[in-house]
Every structure is written in C-alpha cells, then in structure tokens.
Amino acid sequence: MHKFIANTEQDRQDMLKVIGAPSMESLFFDIPENLRFNGELNLEPGYSEIEMMNQLQQLSCLNKSIDQLVCFRGAGAYDHYIPTTIKHLAGRSEFFTAYTPYQPEISQGTLQVIFEYQSMLCELTGMDASNASMYDGPTAAVEAAIMAATIKRKKKIVVSKGLNPEARSVMKTYFHFRDFEMVEVELENGKTNPETLRAAMCPNCAGVIIQSPNFLGMVEDMHALGAVAKETKSIFIAYVDPISLAVLETPGNYGADIVIGEGQGLGNVINFGGPYLGFLATRSEHVRKIPGRIVGQSEDLDGKRAFVLTLQAREQHIRRYKATSNICSNQGLNVLMGSIYMATMGKEGLKEVAKQCFDKAQYTYDKLIATGKFKPAFEGKGFFKEFALVSDVPFEKIDQYLIDNGFLGGFSLAEDYGIEGGHLFCVTEMRSKAEIDRLCSMLEVM
C-alpha cells in the first residue's frame, strides 16, 4: 500500500465483505465495459521522498532564481521583504488544510483572519468594504469592470494604457466573450492626460480604470482623472499598489468607487507569478455588488462575538446563474500571508517600506543615468518604486550582460509600449545601496 492510502489489504477484504462486493474490480462494474480503462497510465512508477526531493533539486539547478540574480525587475511581481513570522504562522496546518469556512463554529480562525484582512485593506484604501480576495490583480480588474458594468447597466470600460498589460490582456479576453467593449487611452509622457481621458469618455461608458503608480511607475493625477470619471457619471476604478498606499493619497480621498490591485507585495512569495492576492474594495453603496466571499461580524447563541461568511445570496452556490460572479474560492492562504504581513509591519513598518522603495528608486534612477548608458524615458521623477529609462544599447545585450553578472535588470518596454531600448527598473526596500552601486558600476564598465 502507498503511504497516502490508509487501508491495508486486510482492510480491503473486510470492507468488501461488508459491502457485499466480490472484488475491488467489481466496485467499477457500473462503468460500461467499453469505457473502462484497462491499460496502464503512461506515468512513471511512484518516486520515493528521497528521489522526489532530488528531482526537485535537479530541476532547480536548471533555473536561476532571484537568490542568484539580484532583482531589479518588478512590472507587477515584486521582491519585497517577507517577515519571518509569515512562514511560521501561515504554515500552521489548521489554517492551510482547512476548507472554505462554511462551518463557522470550527472556522473562526479563517473567518477572523479574513475579517481583519478586510479591515486593514479598507484602512489602506479608504474604502468601506473589501471582499475576501480575488485570484490576482488582473482578474480583480475584470471583476471590477463587470461590477461597474452591472451597476451602470452599460457595457463599455475606458482603461488607461498605464494599467498593467497583463490586466489589459486578461480583460480583453473576458470582454471579447462577454461582448463588452474596452477603450484604451494612450499615455503622454508616461502618464494619463485627463484631457485625453475626457475625449475617450462617452455616455455609454460604465467605468474608468486608472492604475497609480501606473505600470511605468509614475504616480497619476488621480484627483483630475477621477473628476473626469465623475463628470461622465462613470464608476472610477483605481488599480493600486498596496505598499504605495502607506504614503500615497487614499483612493477613498480622490473619489475612487472601486479599488483593486495586486497584493503579492504584502508578504507573498514571488513564486513565478502565482498564487497571488487580488484585492477588491468599494464603497458601502456597492457592497451587494461585490463578487466573491465577504466575512461579517455577528454573535453566537451566547451573544459572543463571532464571524461568518455573509451576503452569500450574491454567490454562485446560492444564486447560481444570477450570481455577481462565478468566483467560488478566495486566495485564503494568500490573505493569511497578507494579513500577517500587515500585522507584522504595522502602521510604521509599511510607511518605512514605502519610503525606502521611494528613496532607493530615486537614488538608482540618478545613478543609472550617471552611468551614461541610459537617459530618462519621461520627464520628471514622479515615480514610486519603478521608473523607465531608455538606452541606445539593444535591450537583449544589456539583459544578458546583467544576468551573466548576477543581476536581473529592468523589464523591456518594447513589446507593450513600443519603447525600443526601454527598461522598467524596480527598486524595493530589499535592494541595498551596495547592490545598487554594484549594478551601476557594472553597467558603467559594460
């Protein structure tokens, strides 16, 4: 028997007897004979633990991880600091081997974690209500767009090209099959121009999505852009970096109706792109339109504070095809990690992280330009932790040179933004001055 299968040969026999079945095979006699799979699956024999861990080590040797490549790449996936508390606490098996908290009496752990997550997310965004998370930033953008469309009963969404290209490409797929329309607004000098946005608006428009800091790292003029959305009675959707919200104005204060984004930077491993932590928060008036799970506070029979999944009538398992979304899971473990992150960093820590990102990005920007290899892609230094530079040297040459020297450099802006020789650098609090200096002197002598 296999170590993950409990019953012994003797158990099998005893159980078959109780069932009254002559053989294991007979348990599958309800499958029509011509459908029975009688061959052997073309898989290898099972690996032992030793072999399996060796196999994974061998695979990992074929990779170069960001432990080997000092990471200056972001573009939606970030090498932020992960406090040691997270692994130890999120690894508690009562959390990670539990199902969705449908039995609240034995799920208060998960439920309270989500309630606290919702509370902290609302603090950061200045919104009133948050759901229990979405798959990731891009799918949160889709859900927000659909939510806007539902609220406004219109099918068109205007999107700044400052929105993460992954998010726009996912939206395009969904929109195509839903017969929704997406209008993209070009950037000017790396930012969304409110006038250009206004020109793209029309009475049929349900919502506007603006990312800030945008994909190119620039902080957008969200007050002005929000005003354009308001003028046209559109839902204003802000796609934000939660880390940046420790120092940047809250979406609540600049009039966002829905706030979404990618929460990976909140203590989640970079993990080659997933699983991540999409978030979605909104104002009270739209709470019943939120997709996905929400936890609410209530009381038990003794009047003791207790938490439950609430507003389930919106969800697919109750409402079926009338549900606000087909989403059925949330990113429970990622919520947990994000919550432990916020609890560990706290009010001051998150500010310090944000400020370090900003300071180090500013420093790196100047230093990289000083190498003589780059010039600014846009005017001004109004960026948060990422910025775009342009080089005359072909992108691939710089990229490979840096990899050979132990760095993962900027992200190419050629494909998504047509900026040939464009590099989007990211500098988080993880990068030490020594690493930055080494990167720059490496490029200087290239």
């Binding site: 409990a6 109780v18 052997e40 073309n42 633990e49 690894g91 752990g109 099959f177 473990l333 009010k347």
Partner: protein, 486 residues
C-alpha cells in the same frame, strides 16, 4: 480560548518588524510627487510586537479545523490528506524565488516541470493538451466555456448562445456559463441524479454551444449513458464539458477523454492533494481534445531543440485569462503528488476512494435515508436521519457532529435530494476512521430520536456556538471600524 482582534492588541509605538537602514539619501516625497497625491493621515494598521503577532495567529489557528486535525468527509470537496512533501516541494528556493518575467534560459527547470505536469494531467484524463493557467475550478470552467465559444466562432457559428446544465450541477456551472456570456438551459435530472436523456434531447438544438456535466454525478453515481449523451451532444453540433470535481473516483479506471468529453477542468486542490488553504488558492488546469488546442490561452510551455520556452506565437489563442501563468505554487505541489503516487498509486487512489465510500454507505444506510441504494463511486448522498418526523434537520446532525470532533459532510447539496448529507471519505482515511465516524453518525441518529434537543442546540463544545447569520447580513459589520460604530 483566544478572543482578541488584532486592533484590540495594538498599541502605539510597538513594532514587530525590523528593516535595515536605507543607506541612500532620504528624499522628500513632495519633491517628486504633488502634495495632493500624498497621504495625509496614516492608515491605522495595528501596531504589535512579534510575540503578539505570533500568539494572535497561533490562537486563531487553534479555532480552526483542518484535515490535519481530523476527518473531513465533505462531499464534492475531496478533502484528502495533503502530503507534507508537497509543501517542501513548493518551498525549494530555486523553484519558487523566480520572477515571472525572467528569460526562458533561466527557467529551464520550471518550464520542464510545467510541461511534464501538463502531459501527466492529459494522460490521466485522456485529453490531448492541457493548460495550467486557470486559478481555480470555476476559473477553469470559465476558460472551458470560452474555448467552446471560440471554437464555434472560429467556425463562424454565432447562433450557439446556450449552454445546457443539469439541475443537479454545482452552482459554479450555471454561474460560469452566465459569466461567459451564455444563456443557460437547465434540464431536470432523473431522480437518481443522472441525465434525463429525453430532456437533453429536447433541449439540444443548433443554438446549443455545449453541455456541462460531471461524471460520476453529484450524487456520486456513474452516468451510464455517457456515450449516448456524448453522441447526442456532438450530433447536435455542441461540445461536451467535463467538470473535474469528481475525478477522484475514476483515475486509472476510466477517462473523460475516452467518454467523449471535449474539454474539462481539473481541480488540483481536490484530486491532486494540494491544500485548500481555508478557501484557496486552488488551481484549475483545463484539458482539451486536439481540435481545441489552437484556442488555448497564451503562453503555452513548449519544447524545441531540447529547450523549453514560453510560446506566445499562437494566432488562434483566446488570449490570457490570468496574470502570468497560473497558480504556480499549487502546480508544483500537484506535480510532486503525481510523481510520488506514480502509475500504480494514482489508480489505487480512486479504487480506495470508491471502496471507502461504498463501505460507509453500507454502514450508514440503516439509520439514514439512502435514496439511491446502489454502487456509488467516491461519494454518496443520504437524505437525513431516518423516520425522525422532521424534528431534527440535516443541519442539526451536522452541528452535532462538531461535538464529536468531526467536520460534517456537505449538507443540502445536491439540491435535488431533500435534507441531503453528502459524504466523501477520500482514499486517505483508514477503516478505523470511517468506523469511528459511522459510529458517531449512528449515535447521533439515535440521539435524534431520544434527545433531539441535544442536536437542536448543538454544537456544544466548539469555540463559539451557533452563529446568528441573519444578524451578520442585516448589520453588515464588515470591518473593525464598522464594529466600533455599533
């Protein structure tokens, strides 16, 4: 029992973090960013020291019940044991500390893993090609329906706007069809949960894009007419979608691809042992037959001249449905699971899952109503306690099970069974565990008659008692701030 909220432990001036000195000059934010775009008031995140954080989450974990705590026979959720080696696999630094935009040359190990996993999943289900991109089962369903739509559109067949769904289906099926922009045609099932072939025939037309089905059905019974169903759907020009929720019953014994399904999703967090994480993350890869392959989302991990690469050159692809490439951390776990189970082990999984379900069904049918008394697959559905005259509901039984230290089965699903109790033991549970659980169930059935109030007032031994769900929906206290207002 630990009773506090983070915010109630918080105190100004405490810290649980440590960061290095920056080393670089400090720059005024307002020197680069307009002051009106800067935050005026701090976000009121809690302030704790490390020991507070640790005790808080340790205390909360102790109010949770996981598979590692005990038996979790939650029907249709396949709460099998999550092997510890999966977690170790997912935390090998060289496999997890990877940026999604690294060049392929630095990712050969990871791309090979993904390629291999796709192949293994295809083999197990008898499909031709598998994408790993969907983040969850419902997400996989959505992709599946997108693919069906793309296929019809590619054939310039734009009138197929309907998806047929049985009334016994999971709620996600109709919800997904709606999100994918289809009209839903729900057909009534037979009393035993199987497809009413006549109803299907009646529903089929040249407006039907596809039919969504799970097999074994949500009642845990194998759909005998599946071949006929497939032929009917295909003859009508529709495609057949397989909901992989119940795949734990059939691995190595029969394959959706062989049954005639054209497209399907897998639930890696069910069949392939990745932990449910208190609600996620899961992963819902989608398998297709050859003719649907060109439509799969971008990128596809491909192999050429011994090098793996992310293939974006897919002109017919529907595009992306998720950022990056899927829930990679979950994929690593499932890869490890399939590799460690191997050829023989995978088959043994389904054999044992079915054995366990049939055994429990036989042990319980004297004291609980069993509407369909015949060979089941990996799960079975009871219809409440026998002869109790409705004093005691299925909900009461479930709550009473909490007192005995068990997670209850799924209740009130599928909708077509009255007072349904849906039991799925999985293969990882021993006969002793099944017996002890059955003993508790039978004891509860007796209690239902002898002292029903014990059940009505259950649970008695949990960190909280029954919770007022109506109050939660009425008061809508969704944040700590809300709770202070009350």
């Amino acid at each position: 029992v630990y009773e506090k909220l983070l915010f109630e432990v918080s105190k100004e001036g405490r810290k649980a973090y440590s960061l290095p000195a920056t080393g670089v000059p400090s720059v005024e934010l307002s020197s680069a960013i307009a002051p009106e775009l800067l935050r005026k008031e701090d976000a009121q995140l809690p302030e704790l020291c490390e020991v507070d954080v640790v005790r808080h989450y340790t205390g909360l974990s102790n109010k949770n019940y996981g598979v590692d705590t005990g038996f979790y026979p939650l029907g249709s959720c396949t709460m099998k044991y999550n092997p510890k080696i999966n977690e170790d696999a997912a935390s090998v630094p060289g496999m997890s500390r990877l940026h999604p935009y690294q060049p392929d040359s630095t990712l050969q190990g990871t791309l090979r893993m993904m390629h291999e996993l796709s192949d293994m999943l295809a083999e197990i289900a008898g499909m031709d090609s598998v994408t790993l991109q969907p983040a969850a089962g419902a997400h996989g369903e959505l992709l599946g329906l997108f693919l069906i739509k793309a296929y019809h559109q590619h054939n310039n067949d734009f009138k197929r706007t309907k998806i047929i769904v049985p009334d016994s289906a999971h709620g996600t099926n109709p919800a997904t069809a709606a999100v994918a922009g289809f009209d839903i045609v729900e057909i009534a099932s037979e009393a035993d949960g199987s497809v009413n072939v006549e109803a299907l025939k009646a529903a089929l037309s040249d407006e039907v894009a596809g039919f969504m089905l799970t097999n074994p059905s949500t009642l845990g019974l194998f759909e005998k007419s599946i071949k006929e169903i497939a032929e009917l759907v295909h003859e009508a020009g529709g495609l057949l979608y397989y909901d992989g929720a119940n795949m734990n019953a059939i691995m190595g014994k029969t394959r959706p691809g062989d049954m005639g399904f054209d497209v399907m999703h897998y639930n890696l967090h069910k069949t392939f042992s990745t932990p449910h994480g208190g609600g996620g993350p899961g992963a819902g890869p989608v398998g297709v037959k050859k003719f649907l392959e060109p439509f799969l989302p971008k990128p596809v991990v491909s192999l050429k001249d011994g090098k793996y690469f992310m293939d974006y050159d897919r002109p017919l692809s529907i595009g992306k449905i998720k950022g990056f490439y899927g829930n990679y951390g979950i994929l690593l776990r499932a890869y490890t699971y399939i590799k460690t189970m191997g050829r023989e082990g995978i088959k043994e999984v389904s054999e044992t899952a079915v054995l366990n379900a049939n055994y429990m069904m036989h042990r319980l049918k004297k004291d609980f109503d069993l509407p369909m008394d015949r060979l089941c697959k990996h799960e079975f559905v009871l219809a409440g306690v026998k002869e109790n005259g409705m004093v005691v509901s299925t909900l009461d039984v479930a709550k009473r099970l909490l007192d005995y230290g068990y997670h209850p089965p799924t209740i009130y699903f599928p909708l077509i069974v009255h007072e349904a109790i849906m039991v799925e033991p999985t293969e990882t549970e021993s006969k002793e565990t099944l017996d002890e659980f059955c003993d508790a169930m039978i004891k509860i059935a007796h209690e239902a008659i002898e002292s029903p109030e014990l059940l009505k007032e259950a649970p008695h031994n949990t960190p909280v008692k029954r919770i007022n769900e109506a109050k939660a929906a009425r008061d809508l206290i969704l944040t700590y701030k809300d709770s202070l207002k009350g």
